[in-house]
Structure formats: C-alpha cells, structure tokens
Symmetry: C2
C-alpha cells in the first residue's frame, strides 16, 4: 500500500526518535515507554470521561472463540481483514516434513489445522455472547478495552495491524442504544479537544468487501449507522478517524440472543476510542517527546 510523503515523514520521525520500533512486518511495531505512557494516560482519561454514570468493566484477550467470530458476520463483510489462528496437530513424521519445508524455504503451513480461536477484530465482539439472555431494566452499559487485529499491512503508521481500542457499549432498547452512541460522540469530541485535537463528526462506512459490500457501505451511510470523529493530520492525506461510533441495531442481539427487560430484541451500540491512533495524532500534533507537550495536554493525560 502506497503511503503519502507526509505519512512517510511522520513514520521516519517516530522511528528515529525510537518511539516506534519497526519490525519485519509492516504495521507491527514495538512501542516506547513514552508511547505507552500516553496510552495509559488516555485510558485513565477515557475512564474518567465515563465515571459519572454506572458502567460495568470487562477485559478480553487478543483472541476470541472461533464460534463467536463465525456467528458475528465479520467474515461476510471483511474477509480480507481477518486473522484466523491455525496450529499443528500432527505426529512426529508430519513435524519432520514441516521442518523440512521450512528449511527449504517452502510453504510450511499447509498441514496446519484451524484452532478454536481467531484474532479479535473489534474489542466489543467478545462481549455480546457473554450478555445472552434478558437484560436488566435500564439495559447494560459496559466498557471494554483491548487489542484488535486487522490484516492491512501498510507503512502508514495510522494503519497498524495490531492496535488497541477502548469502547463504551450499550445493550438496551433502540432509542437508548442510539442515545448512548450520540451522547458519546459529544463526550469523545470534548475529550479530544482537551488534548488539542480538533475533530469533526462525519458519517462514515466500514470497508465492506466486494461489490455487495458497496451496497452495504452505502446503506450504512444513508442510515447514519456509523459516525467517526476525524482529525486532519497533514495536508497530503484525508482526515484520520480517531473515534468510531456504531449503531448495530439488532444485529448482535439477534445473533447472540439478547432481549430487553420488556422481552423485545435488544439493540446495541458502541463508541470506541482508537488508543494507538489518538496517541499517534498527539505525537504528530505536539511532537515526538511527550515531556515537551503543552501543559494543558499533559495535565489532562496525567492529572
């Protein structure tokens, strides 16, 4: 994937400053202690932004059950982004054959078998099956945070293969789920503004696969099911999405059997902070050394 001169410069600056440690795989980086302290600061800020209302917390690992992935519909819409986990279940003879293939530089993965897990494509996906059944009156609000994977190798530092999301999720009636999402758009924009990031809320669509995908994308935009908070990073590139607000309507509730206290099919929505992307936007805006960022930004992150 080609990358603009501005993004190539940003990447070079962050690599030279040892903020990002490049690896053989595009979009897979080590992060410096400074980078991580920004992510930690953001995590705290995001939690404080939601602390005025009761919310449950749960953390899932970077892999989720294959059964949950298969049911989620992700494979229909984004097959090219998936990470399917495969392992070896053979005997010593097939192990020897596998090593011989590695040795001669051939493909060695043909004999692997799918494991019972997939890489997690979105941090809220593992949550829904654990909420199966009838919701309490007033629904549920849950915050989740963790690693996501999307297979899109790129030299653009904003397009990482492995990245972290922090989501506020609502499981409730249709109006309440929509209101949750729209309320968080305001909160998210205000939070990013405190960090010196000017953002705009825009209707958006996911990168659905293929021709049928173009229809889905158009429909998602028409119904305003997805909004993003985007920031302009440089003049070469389109604005970058730092937060994403999604109405799933009854998709996950139908799939995993989640009902409101009234016995209706629930709706779900989520608002996600892209932790690595916001950190990169801050590094691009305020420079590669967080110790030298404006005092107001520092005190918001590390009160």
């Amino acid at each position: 994937m080609t990358v603009s001169p501005a993004r190539a410069r940003l990447r070079a600056t962050l690599v030279d400053a040892r903020v990002l440690v490049p690896t053989d795989a595009p979009g897979v980086y080590g992060r410096s202690a400074g980078f991580e302290s920004v992510v930690e600061g953001l995590e705290g800020l995001v939690l404080r932004a939601g602390a005025d209302r009761p919310v449950e917390s749960v953390r899932f690992p970077p892999v989720l059950p294959r059964t949950v992935f298969e049911a989620s519909g992700y494979l229909e819409s984004f097959p090219d982004l998936i990470g399917s986990v495969h392992t070896f279940a053979g005997d010593e003879a097939s192990h020897a054959a596998l090593l011989a293939a590695v040795e001669s530089g051939e493909s060695w993965t043909d004999g692997l078998v799918p494991a019972d897990v997939m890489l997690c494509p979105a941090v809220c996906h593992p949550l829904y099956p654990t909420c199966a059944g009838t919701l309490p009156a007033g629904g549920r609000r849950v915050e989740v945070s963790g690693w996501c994977f999307r297979h899109e190798p790129s030299e653009d530092p904003f397009r990482m293969q492995a990245f972290r999301q922090h989501d506020y999720v609502a499981l409730d009636g249709p109006d309440e789920a929509r209101r949750h999402r729209d309320d968080w758009i305001q909160r998210g924009a205000s939070l990013l503004g405190r960090l010196g990031l000017e953002v705009e809320a825009v209707a958006a669509n996911d990168p659905f696969f293929g021709r049928a995908g173009r229809l889905l994308a158009a429909s998602q935009r028409t119904q305003e099911l997805k909004l993003e908070l985007v920031a302009r990073i440089d003049d070469d590139d389109p604005p970058v999405a730092l937060c994403s607000a999604n109405s799933h309507l009854d998709h996950f509730a139908l799939t995993f059997g989640i009902a409101t206290a009234d016995g209706e099919v629930a709706h779900t929505s989520c608002f996600g902070f892209g932790l690595d992307r916001i950190t990169l936007a801050l590094l691009a805006r305020h420079g590669p050394d967080p110790d030298r960022w404006p005092a107001a930004v520092r005190s918001a992150l590390w009160p």
Copy 2:
C-alpha cells in the same frame, strides 16, 4: 485435557464471582475489573523491583513477524503450541464459496493464506531481532510486557491460551547474562513472598515436542538452563510455575546477529513474571475479592 477437582472448584469459584467470564473456547476468558487491578498492581510492583538499575522499556503487540517466528526455532520445539495467523486474499467468487462452506457448517479455512504475522509465543521473542548488531559496553537490559499465546485448550484456569508475561531480559556476555537471571530469581522470590506466595526455585524444562524433544528437555534440565519459581496451589495438583528464568546461551544472539562490545557472540537470558498466573495464585490464596486481601498484600500491590 482433564482437570483436577481442586482446579475445577477454583474455576467455578472465580466464574461464580464473575472474576473470570468464560467463553466458548477453553482457556479464553474475560477478566473482571478486580482481576485487572491486580495485574496492574503487579506491573507496578515488577517495575519497582527493577527500578534500582537502568533498564530500557519496550512493548510489542500480541503478534510478531512470521520471519522472526521462523528464525526463532519455536517451530522445531513446540509446533503443537503455535498460533499461525491466516487471512483471506481471494476474489468475490472464492468469498462466496467460503461463505457457502460456513453456511453448511463445513471447514471454510482451506483457501486462507498465511499472513505475515504469528501469535507471539513468548514476550521476549520480538525483542531480539530489534537488538541486532553490536551491544554497548555493559550490554543491554530491557523489560518487556505483553500478551502471549499458546494453543493448549484446558479447563484449568492456570493454563490459559492467551496470557500476559512481564520479562526482564539481559543481552550481554555469558557470565553477565547468567548472573542477570540468577539475580532475578532472588528478586522474583522475594516479590512473591511479599504477596503471601511461598515459592521454591526448581530446575525445569519446556514441553518440547516428540521423542527428540525428550532429549532436549533432559539436556535443558542437566544444564539448568531453565528454572521456575513454583507455588503449591492445592493438594490435588503439582506446583504451578509463576515465574520462569531462562538461559538461552547464544541461541538468539546467533540467530539474530547480536555481538558484545568485545565482538563476541552475545548471550541472552530472561526472567519472566506470569502476570495472569500470579493473579490466579493470589485469588486462590487470598480469596476471590481483592478488596478483602491482607493489608500487607494490598499495600504491596497498591502502595
């Protein structure tokens, strides 16, 4: 994999208390806010335990480059534990065929292709290739922390498929690398002791695959290349390794081209804290509610 009555009881207690949220995949759990606050407390304690000496920090994501994995030798020794990441690179026709396979409950993964990443098997592995070249005089000390994956589905809560490790790594001459490891065994045992966990340092071996693996395991024990800090959790089961101390000799340095300032092939060693395992040991020892743990343990974790 069978699990002892004691481990089944511990799992049931933690699930009932909603400390662990089970999923369809054995060994893949959601973690409660309480569980995570223990992990965060441990991270701080582990960092303070090493704060008297200069150390570099870097954090890698849960996936590492396939090239690094292939070079590491992991596939020779632990093929059954690997997580190879595969994705879809076909056209719309093959996508339709893939979805038809999912729909009819058949295997749908045959047409996937290996991605350029693998799940990270040990938190220090991504580090070594980034240290290629000549070390400064005095070597390097680096602490790393992150998610690891091992494909060993089990109902034993101590055997998770996805778990976190925090490692202190030395890259230096042979004596210094060995001393680093042995020094950390003392520090690790003392740290765990402060948390009310009685541990013993024992010679150990990795679960090498197959018949040839038995020889490697025996040799690893004879040379005392691996030591573990183990704790007895219950009377049904053998003690559990909470920390692992490893001498790699020149294995990673030869593989990735790391030399000492004197121009010799370097040695590497690491000492790893099993963050999820230590948290589980604390929950088993002090009960499922960290708010009610002994004051000394709480003040060590959350000073």
